[in-house]
Symmetry: C2
Subunit: 403 residues, 2 copies
């Protein structure tokens, strides 16, 4: 089998951890597999480099940031290759550019365009383990680029696609995908399998396991991958298009994003284009809007409510000022909001999920500020202080603690 | 003017030092010059990386060492470019590969083959300062290579040659080239100029200012360069083919290499090929032999004396064992040897230098163990404990303290 393994920053956090990772790689290889490994920078290194950069220049060019940040992964790839050599495994390290990962020119958040897998295949055919620097690529013009947040996962999944790998393993510091955050819900259960769509909704709902971007890429190219821990030998969670018991299980997980603020625009003129103007202004200010609810009120005036990341709330208000001057209306922000979401593809064919969710929160005396739904998710905005409690009662209401 | 500046590891040792270097670069540019800068890794970083590597693998592949070590210079180039951006100077950083520095495939001690200066010239024409990572290049096959000891100086001088720079400045932590090590001889004088050949002999004689290799390259391509300090504004030492007062000054400098051992092979068969066998065996063992003296003794037996770096003395003895088994003779090693050298192109046309040197040492009661001479240098092997004292009396005897 050809297996792609990706190890995150805590998995290669120091020399001792790198040695353990090398042992895992060797074991995989000793089972007769060909192995390509993607590694992140040591945990903390990227932030250290950024701190040093900011000390010298508050606003360095993104090209130079990429030149600088790329060295974090270069270090761990070379060290991982050496750790393998020390235990008798032939290994060779690649920068993103050497691995033929070609991207566009958008520094610090480049998109992968093509991968020339020939050099890696050649080394695999020579019996070597190939270690590739995650998070980075090269533009057609030969510039070093980085892929932005979650970039190393993306490198792993993109390489698995390009190499038509039989298996892709994403090693991180958690065991897999859980029905809820195990730090909040003691009885949370690890899922054996989850669909791309469910994991995407969970990622968008505050679950920190993986960035949406990598999951979307995997879905697009049909890369089946397993999320698992490099700190133990437990099986992880398999992520793929269709999961076996999709029909029976209605809700797969509960997640909370505690970093939200709610903005209420009241008494805005209810005419075509009003909402468009509001959200265009927010988009131009690079404010990421999440839930949106609109009610038409009396006298041709509407209320528009939406949530944004809390850090963006001031920026949002500033961006709305000129629009509200034009359309009328006022804006009020509530900062201490959490978004709770229940996710599951089974919802498509099962009714009653919303009712159960609302009743459960009502029984616990937790007020619902906003509701928004997708085909496989229901989200509610609630008081942030009660978010953990809400996750626990909802998790229990959907019987997720009995896997 | 087009000026190439090279800053060593102490000159870019931390964020504060990098900021000072950026200020110097800006000043050079503000005088209307086009500037290309070569930087080393921060002092200590290369050793840290090697230590981490050795912890993982006692004998890593040299390819992986190069992949790892190259990041040291990549960091300082990006940070230096950012420091320039912070003070309003457009700057762009290059890895060795991006700078078109093509080398052979000999990892950890690659030789520069060609430089494609086009990318640098394009950025210079766009008004940018170009910062190039020293010590590294790329092979035709796209592998990262490093140039070995003194590699960053070599990058600076090679770029000056390729770009036909008007000036090349090698910034280090000393003010220039002195008549003797100023830490040993208080009255040592900085030389305004020195010829390539003299600096080469000084480099081979224990002066740590520059590696021979870079000076040889500069001589070959006629690159005039200045050795100066980045810690002050003092003028440095200009290094070139012919120096103005060559004829008048006989001795330009005194240097001591305190890291030598002397090996005496006695009673070896004095027939053609004996010496060749001895030195072939040493070369095959990668032992660097320095001074060599041979005396023919009685009965067709010869004595052969030579010096080696002290660290190599055990290796030398081991390499000689089979040769001596064949040719007869015994080897005795004396570890605590220093080599003192006086250097100056004026020696070619002045006699009496050797006599003055020997008399001075005799007056000080310092015994001469070996003598070897070149056209512009006389070296003697002496007791290491008396090396500093010897440098001082010889420096004074040749009136080097009155520049």
């Amino acid at each position: 089998m050809l297996i792609v393994q990706k190890y995150g920053g805590t998995s290669v956090g120091d020399v001792g951890r790198i040695r353990i990772v090398a042992g895992r790689i060797k074991a995989t290889r000793d089972q007769g597999n060909r192995v390509v490994v993607v590694v992140s920078a040591r945990a903390g290194v990227t932030n250290e480099l950024i701190a040093r950069a900011k000390e010298l220049c508050p606003n360095p060019s993104e090209r130079e940031l990429d030149q600088l940040l790329a060295i974090g992964e270069q270090e761990t790839t070379a060290l991982t290759a050496m750790a393998l050599q020390a235990i008798g495994v032939e290994a060779v390290s690649y920068t993103g550019g050497q691995a033929g990962i070609f991207t566009d020119m958008v520094h610090t958040k480049a998109k992968i365009r093509t991968i020339n897998a020939k050099p890696i295949e050649r080394d695999l055919n020579d019996g070597k383990v190939v270690i590739v620097a995650g998070f980075q690529g090269i533009s057609e013009a030969g510039q070093t680029t980085t892929l932005g947040r979650g970039g190393s996962d993306l490198t792993g999944i993109a390489l698995a696609a390009a190499l038509r790998a039989d298996k892709c393993e994403i090693y991180t510091d958690v065991d897999g995908v859980y029905t809820a955050d195990p730090r909040v819900v003691k009885s949370a259960q690890k899922l054996g399998e989850i669909s791309y769509d469910e994991l995407l909704e969970l990622a968008a709902s505050g679950s920190k396991v993986m960035q949406s971007r990598s999951v979307e890429f995997a879905k697009k190219f049909g890369v089946i991958f397993e999320v698992r821990s490099s700190f133990n030998q437990n099986p992880g969670t398999l992520v793929k298009e269709e999961v076996a018991y999709m029909e029976q299980v209605v809700v797969r997980g509960v997640a909370a994003d505690k970093d939200q603020a709610k903005a209420l625009i009241s008494n805005i003129a209810d005419r075509p284009g009003s909402a468009a103007k509001v959200f265009r202004a927010l988009a131009d200010a690079h404010v990421n809007v999440d839930m949106i609810v609109q009610n038409v009120g009396l006298k041709g005036l509407a209320n528009l409510t939406f949530t944004v990341p809390q850090a963006d709330s001031a920026k949002a208000v500033a961006a709305l000022r000129p629009v509200l001057d034009e359309l009328g209306g006022e804006v009020a922000v509530r900062e201490d909001i959490a978004k709770l979401s229940v996710v599951g593809v089974g919802m498509k064919t099962h009714s009653g999920v919303a009712a159960t969710l609302f009743q459960t929160l009502a029984d616990a005396g937790i007020n619902i500020e906003m509701i928004s739904t997708s085909e496989i998710k229901i989200s509610v905005a609630i008081d942030r202080k009660r978010a953990d409690e809400a996750v626990r009662v909802v998790h229990s209401a959907f019987k997720l603690d009995r896997a």
